[in-house]
Amino acid sequence: MISTSALQVRYGDVAALHSLDLDLPAGRIYGLLGRNGAGKTTLLSTLAGLRRPSAGSVTVDGAPVFENARVTTRICLIRDDGGLGDGTDTLHDILTMAAILRPGFDTGYAASLMDRFALPRRRTLRALSRGQRSAFGIVVGLASRADLTMFDEAHLGMDAANRQVFHDELLADYASRPRTVILSTHLIEEQGPLFEQVLILHEGRLLLRADTDELRSQGVAVTGPAGLVDDFVSGLTVLGERRLGPTKQVTVFGALDERRRALARSLQLQLGPVALQELFIHLTGGAA
């Protein structure tokens, strides 16, 4: 169980996290969403012990995280800005270092992931492309086999094929070795299917926490002839709309009652799940 109690982090006069209370049961994949500056990186780095909370506490299984090697060695945070080694280190050297420093590091698994991402072991970190650096971070993150593994925008620069490899490997490894995973991302639709539960941070506060399916049920996508759809959604909170010829799809916020569902059936309108991204944009204040 990962817990924060009245967690605050301040940068000088600026509060990045406001008194955050959070209990995350172990063994699930969490999606951490939030707009730029919402406090996602600050939260993850505090959970990983990279910074001391300004106030409040962070514990894993009841033990404090900060400066507690018994806990921090069970936590792995892969950041978008690297930090795994010096730019002059070769990937081979960094994997060697990780194997020495991390008790649970699986060298064989790291080797197979290096092959899957076609990463050159003798090249230095500095010589890699942005996408290769991200892929290498994912190799270290997965092979660390940490009880709490966090990826903070770790996919930046990776092409679609490698992002798919990441998702496949994450799910396969999670299935064989269940642990807690937190994915912080702006690729909401792409990574959404991985999430069991979604946490939305907004301006340093926890705006929403819900199971992914439950969150999707907070909105409905209505599809059908444009005129009928417009009449149907009149008076509802519209999150977004798309049009293809005479057909229109409108996403609305809030669950529909049985009367409206019956009306939709009678009008032969299709009702479907809402896109997480549209809900997220609505919940965090809408598009600018």
């Binding site: 990186t41 400066e67 903070d152």
Partner: protein, 230 residues
């Protein structure tokens, strides 16, 4: 859990690199020295001149401590582990490199004797050409306080950014006093008589205590930079 992981990593990787680097420098000196014969008679010890560079190289290498700290913490280790194990690594490194350099002095003495060259050390040295125990202690002390000085200056800048400039004051004091005591950094206004290895060791221990204290103050709860304001 494995014990002393940071130390084991540094000894297995960095110490090997540093030893090869210094050994390579000694071999280079052995190769280059005869070339100077084409232009001038050789009267000075090449190792002694080359060894002077180690003073600043050690400070510069020590400065890499900040990046090392951030990497260690990112890999799940603690600042406390770093503050204990990194100085031990520095001490072991200083012992190994001082022994290597002392061996280079001895090998050079044989080479010069065979070649019939005269061999003098620089005037500011506090040891005689054949006094190998003193050579070892002088290099050991110099490497120790230079490495720790580079480390605490680096971590001070990492923690306080521009405010780290204040660390330059104790750094200058440590380097000035330690340099004068070991004969590697002799400023006209900071010369004092030091008699032999025991006194050098005392000055070095004092410098290390100051350096380690400042290192600990800098790293004990420093935030690792993560792309948001520290």
């Amino acid at each position: 859990m494995s014990r002393w992981p940071i130390l084991r990593f540094l000894l297995s990787q960095h110490l090997v690199f540093l030893t090869l680097f210094v050994a390579g420098g000694c071999l280079l000196a052995a190769v280059v020295t005869p070339v100077f014969l084409l232009f001038t008679p050789i009267t000075l010890s090449a190792v002694d001149i080359g060894g002077q560079v180690l003073f600043w190289l050690a400070v510069g290498y020590g400065y890499g401590a900040a990046g090392m700290l951030a990497t260690m913490v990112a890999h799940g280790r603690t600042r406390r582990e770093f503050a204990v194990q990194y100085p031990v690594f520095q001490l072991v490194t200083a012992v190994v490199l001082a022994a290597l350099i002392t061996g280079a002095y001895a090998a050079e003495a044989v080479l010069y004797r065979l070649a019939g060259w005269t061999r003098h050390l620089q005037d500011q040295r506090v040891f005689a050409a054949g006094d190998y125990p003193s050579i070892f202690v002088a290099y050991l002390c110099m490497l120790v306080f230079c490495l720790i000085t580079g480390a605490f200056v680096a971590t001070a800048f990492y923690r306080w950014e521009a405010g780290g400039v204040l660390a330059l004051l104790p750094a200058a004091a440590v380097l000035g006093c330690g340099g004068a005591a070991t004969g590697f950094f002799s400023l006209s206004f900071a010369r004092f008589a030091v008699a032999g290895p025991p006194a050098m060791a005392v000055v070095t221990v004092a410098a290390v205590v100051v350096g380690w204290t400042l290192l600990w103050v800098s790293v004990r709860d420093v935030a690792v930079r993560t792309g948001v304001s520290a």
